[in-house]
């Protein structure tokens, strides 16, 4: 696997391989020396055009636990503010010969574009409303630890689906692993045609009880340039996941940061059925597994190998393993 741009590039064996490796890596954090030399001498560049604390910190910890060198590049306070384009920034930073670039931007499709401009492995850490594949993988990891196999599990994704790259990556990931996915929220926040991704659509939470897992999404005020809901209070009255709507045996997830009192009530956030902190903890081991996956098999000092690159490659690898 050369890049991680979208969950759609991963089949079930590839996802399973990454998650199994994440399990193996969990033990590294419990040792006296909390790192392994797997990526010693590799350079990982974190290129973040959007505010992010947990994703960037967990990518940085992940790279360091594998002994890679990490450079953080934030768009604010950089040449980007002087008007440099994404392409020029990537070309300039590529001069430092990074082996991998972890990129987050507010523009859908930017990770795939960047992959064409540099020899480095690209890991998409969120591109606008498009995808956030490592979030989906860490959510799968968290669920696998909690529930085991996801075949036939019913998962409801609730809230602001329209602005959510997490929702898109997770619908694909949950479906690939055999779960049944339903998205629910106000009609204004459900993108038209989302059924084509293989999920059901509901506009009320009346049947929320059928879910094994409830995945609440954050209301993304910062991406809302029009009034999608009359008010946050009105939204909460209809769509807030709270102890009245949630059964104690349902697993509650949220990608964070939580707007307490909006999409989730305080008491469910703090309840034992919420695995939100487990999701954060999973971030490091899963991102270690992803960095290892994209960098293993690449020649030292970057440069794509002739075998790698085509999307068919993932299938070829999983076939070779079978």
């Amino acid at each position: 696997m050369q890049h991680l741009l979208s969950i759609a590039d991963l089949d079930r064996p590839a996802i399973t391989r990454i998650l199994d490796r994440a399990v193996a890596l969990t033990e590294v954090g419990e040792r006296e020396v909390k790192k392994v030399p797997a990526l010693r001498g590799r350079r990982v560049l974190n290129l973040f055009y959007e505010a992010s604390t947990r994703t960037r910190a967990s990518f940085e910890l992940a790279a360091k636990a594998l002994s890679a060198d990490v450079v953080n590049f934030a768009a604010s306070g950089s040449s980007v503010e002087k008007g440099e384009s994404l392409k020029d920034t990537v070309l300039t930073l590529s001069a430092h010969r990074p082996d991998a670039i972890v990129i987050r931007t507010p523009w859908a499709g930017s990770a795939a574009l960047v992959a064409g401009w540099t020899d480095a492995a690209i890991v998409n850490a969120g591109d606008g409303k498009h995808e956030h594949p490592t979030q989906a993988l860490l959510d799968l990891h968290t669920l696998r630890q909690r529930l085991g196999d996801l075949d036939g599990a019913k998962i409801w994704i609730v809230g602001d689906v329209l602005h959510s790259r997490v929702a898109r990556s997770n619908i694909l990931a949950f479906r690939t692993m055999g779960a049944e996915v339903t998205v629910a929220g106000p009609p204004t926040l459900i993108p038209r045609g989302i059924e084509a991704m293989g999920c059901e659509v509901r506009t009320t939470l009346d049947d929320l009880g059928e879910a094994d897992v409830v995945y609440a999404l954050r209301m993304q005020h910062e991406r809302m340039h029009q009034a999608f809901v009359p008010s946050l209070r009105e939204y909460a009255a209809w769509y807030q996941v709270n102890s009245r709507r949630l059964r104690p045996d349902q697993v509650l997830m949220h990608p964070g940061p939580v707007n307490r009192g909006v999409e989730l009530s305080g008491e469910v956030v703090d309840s034992p059925q919420a695995v939100i902190t487990a999701q954060v903890a999973a971030g490091v081991v899963v991102r270690m597994a992803v960095l290892y996956e994209v960098l293993a098999g690449r020649g030292r000092g970057a440069g794509p190998t002739p075998e790698a690159g085509a999307p068919a490659d993932v299938a070829a690898i999983s076939e070779a393993r079978a």
Binding site: M1, R17, D20, R21, V23, A24, L25, T26, E27, V28, R31, E32, V33, K35, V36, P37, A38, L39, L66, Y292, E293, L295, A296, G297, R298, G299, R300, T305, E307, I317, A320, R321
Partner: protein, 190 residues
């Protein structure tokens, strides 16, 4: 299997492990400071068997661990795909102990180097020793096993295939022509 020759059968393998266990006992006057660590995957199976033999002989509990050395390999850049990785288990303090590292085949010595590096991330053992079922020569690093089941002169192109019950259907060590792939591939015997 055509082109492959059996060098140790199940009975040979059992007797070899018994001998290695006795040699370990002979060399350790302080068994309470002994520990065994097997290298995934077949080394871990062999370590578990040696462990049973040693506990019977010494009548003390000996810590047993296993390690996966994938993250310590020096050939990440050359490998075409990321390997399947198993979790390591070293649940005891290694500080001050004599740790016997167990593997199936000693070849270039690169696996042993990686295993020793991995072991040191768990603490500072007093001594590290090496026990292998087969030493096939062709070292690329200055390593020597303390306990050897069988010295097996090989050509570099030949393959040594170790089968152990638990992972395979039988106990057996075979040697085969390198140009032919064995029916059930064993991991690279480094």
């Amino acid at each position: 299997m055509p082109g492959s020759k059996v060098v140790l059968d199940g009975d040979d393998m059992r007797r070899t492990l018994v001998r290695i266990a006795h040699e370990i006992v002979e060399k350790h006057s302080e068994p309470e400071r002994l520990a065994l660590v097997g290298i995934h995957r077949r080394g871990a199976v062999l370590a578990a068997r040696l462990h049973r033999l040693l506990v019977d002989l010494l009548e003390v509990e000996i810590p047993l661990g296993d390690i996966d050395i994938s993250f310590y390999r020096d050939d990440l850049a050359e490998r075409r795909e990321a390997p399947v990785v198993l979790a390591s288990h070293v649940d005891f303090p290694v500080d001050g102990r004599t740790v016997v590292v167990v593997d199936d085949v000693l070849f270039t010595g690169r696996t042993v180097r990686a295993a020793i590096e991995a072991l040191f991330d768990y603490g500072r053992p007093a001594r590290v020793q090496l026990a292998v079922l087969v030493d096939r020569g062709h070292r690329e690093l200055p390593f020597r096993a303390d306990y050897v089941g069988k010295n097996l002169p090989t050509a570099r192109t030949e393959r040594v295939n170790v089968h152990v019950r638990g992972l395979d259907d039988r106990d057996e060590v075979t040697i085969s022509d390198g140009s032919r792939r064995p029916a059930d591939p064993t991991p690279e015997d480094a």
